[in-house]
Amino acid sequence: MGEAAGVGELSGGDGDVDFTPAPIDVNVDGLKDFRAWLGRELDANLRPGAEGIVNDHLMGVRFGWRNAGRQVAVARQRYAESLEASTANLVQYVNASEVLIDAILQVVTNYRASDLSAADSSRILTDVLGGVFAGRTSPDVDQSSEDRREQHRMQPGASP
C-alpha cells in the first residue's frame, strides 16, 4: 500500500518540460482495504446482528396492553416510539454501510479513470462522494454491488 500514484503535472522553466509525479489526495490501497473490511464487517456482524434485533423489536410493545392505567398507556406509547426509532436506526446503519462501500468503489473507479490534475481529481472525487452520500446512484456503480444491496436490503417492516 502506498500513497496514491500521481498523475502528471507539468513543471519546469526555461523551456524545459519535466513530468513530475504529483500526489493526489487519494489512498487507493487504503480505501480498498477499508472497503473490504467494511464489507466483511457488514456481512459477518452488522447485518446479521441488526436483523436479529429488528426481528425482536418488531414484536412490538408486549406489556400492559389491557391495563387501564394512564401511566401504562403513556409508557406503552413511548416504548413503541423507541422501538420504531431503534429499528429505523439499525436499518439505516446497514444501508449506510452499503452506501460507504459504493462510495469507495466509485472513488477508486473514478480515480483510476482520471487523467487530470491533482486539483481536478480531488474535486471530482469529492463530487462523487457527495453524490453517493446524497443518495444519488451513479451509472458507474458496480452492478454486483447494486444486486448485493437489493438482496440484503433491510426494511423496517410493520411498525410495532
Binding site: 464487517e41 413511548r78 469529492t126 462522494l129
Partner: protein, 213 residues
C-alpha cells in the same frame, strides 16, 4: 365498558380530572385480573435481550469503524475541502450515531425490565386474590345447593369448616369496588408511582434517527 380503556377515559388531564386512585375504584377484582392475566413477560424479556445486543453491537461497530477510519486517515489526510474530509465527516456521523444508539439501547433495558417485573408481580398478587375469590364463591354455591329442609331421616350435618367461606369475605377481600382494603390490590396492578417514573424514563429513550451518511 372495555376494561383496557376505562381508566384512561376517566382520568383525563384537566384540573377536574379524577385522581388515579379514584379511577381505580371503579374496577372490581375480576376486571383488574383481566388487565394482567395475559402478562407473561416472555416477549418483553426477549426484547430486553435485544436491547442488550443492540447496545453491544452498536458500541462494537462504532469502535471498529472509528479504528478503521483512523488508520485510513493516516495515509489519506482529511485536508480542508478534500474528498478525504468529506469521507471522514460522513463516517464520523455514522460512528457518532452508533454510539448514541448504544447508550440509548443500554438505558432502555432497565425500564423495560422493571415494568415487566412490576406487571408480573401484579399478576401474581391478583392471581392469589382471584383464586381465593373463586374458592369462596364455589363454597357458597355448594352451600346454597344443599337442601334447606332435609327429608325424613336425613341428618342435618353441618358442612366442614374448611368448606365454609369466612363470614363477610366479600367485604374483606381486597380489590372489590368500594370495599375497604383495596389499596394493596390497586397498587399491585397499577404500580402507579413506579410506572409513572418508568414512563418518564422512556421519554429519555431515543426517538432519534441516524442521519444518512
Amino acid at each position: 365498558m372495555s376494561p383496557d380503556l376505562g381508566a384512561i377515559h376517566y382520568l383525563g388531564t384537566g384540573p377536574t380530572a379524577l385522581g388515579a386512585y379514584d379511577v381505580w375504584q371503579v374496577y372490581g377484582l375480576d376486571q383488574l385480573w383481566e388487565m394482567v392475566r395475559d402478562e407473561d413477560g416472555v416477549a418483553s424479556f426477549t426484547q430486553v435481550g435485544a436491547w442488550h445486543r443492540m447496545a453491544e453491537l452498536c458500541s462494537e461497530q462504532a469502535d471498529q469503524l472509528q479504528r478503521a477510519l483512523d488508520q485510513l486517515m493516516v495515509h489519506w489526510p482529511a485536508r480542508p475541502g478534500s474528498a478525504a474530509e468529506l469521507f471522514k465527516l460522513q463516517v464520523g456521523r455514522l460512528v457518532a450515531s452508533m454510539r448514541e444508539s448504544a447508550v440509548i439501547a443500554a438505558a432502555t433495558k432497565q425500564p423495560l425490565t422493571d415494568i415487566t417485573m412490576e406487571l408480573g408481580r401484579a399478576k401474581d398478587e391478583l392471581g392469589v386474590l382471584i383464586e381465593r375469590k373463586r374458592t369462596y364463591e364455589g363454597q357458597e354455591a355448594a352451600l346454597s345447593s344443599r337442601a334447606a329442609y332435609p327429608g325424613r331421616g336425613a341428618t342435618d350435618v353441618p358442612p366442614p369448616a374448611a368448606e365454609v367461606p369466612p363470614e363477610g369475605w366479600r367485604q374483606a377481600l381486597p380489590a372489590q369496588p368500594d370495599r375497604p382494603g383495596r389499596t394493596a390490590a390497586v397498587a399491585a396492578i397499577g404500580g402507579l408511582t413506579l410506572l409513572a417514573l418508568l414512563g418518564a424514563a422512556f421519554v429519555v429513550v431515543g426517538i432519534r434517527r441516524a442521519r444518512r451518511p
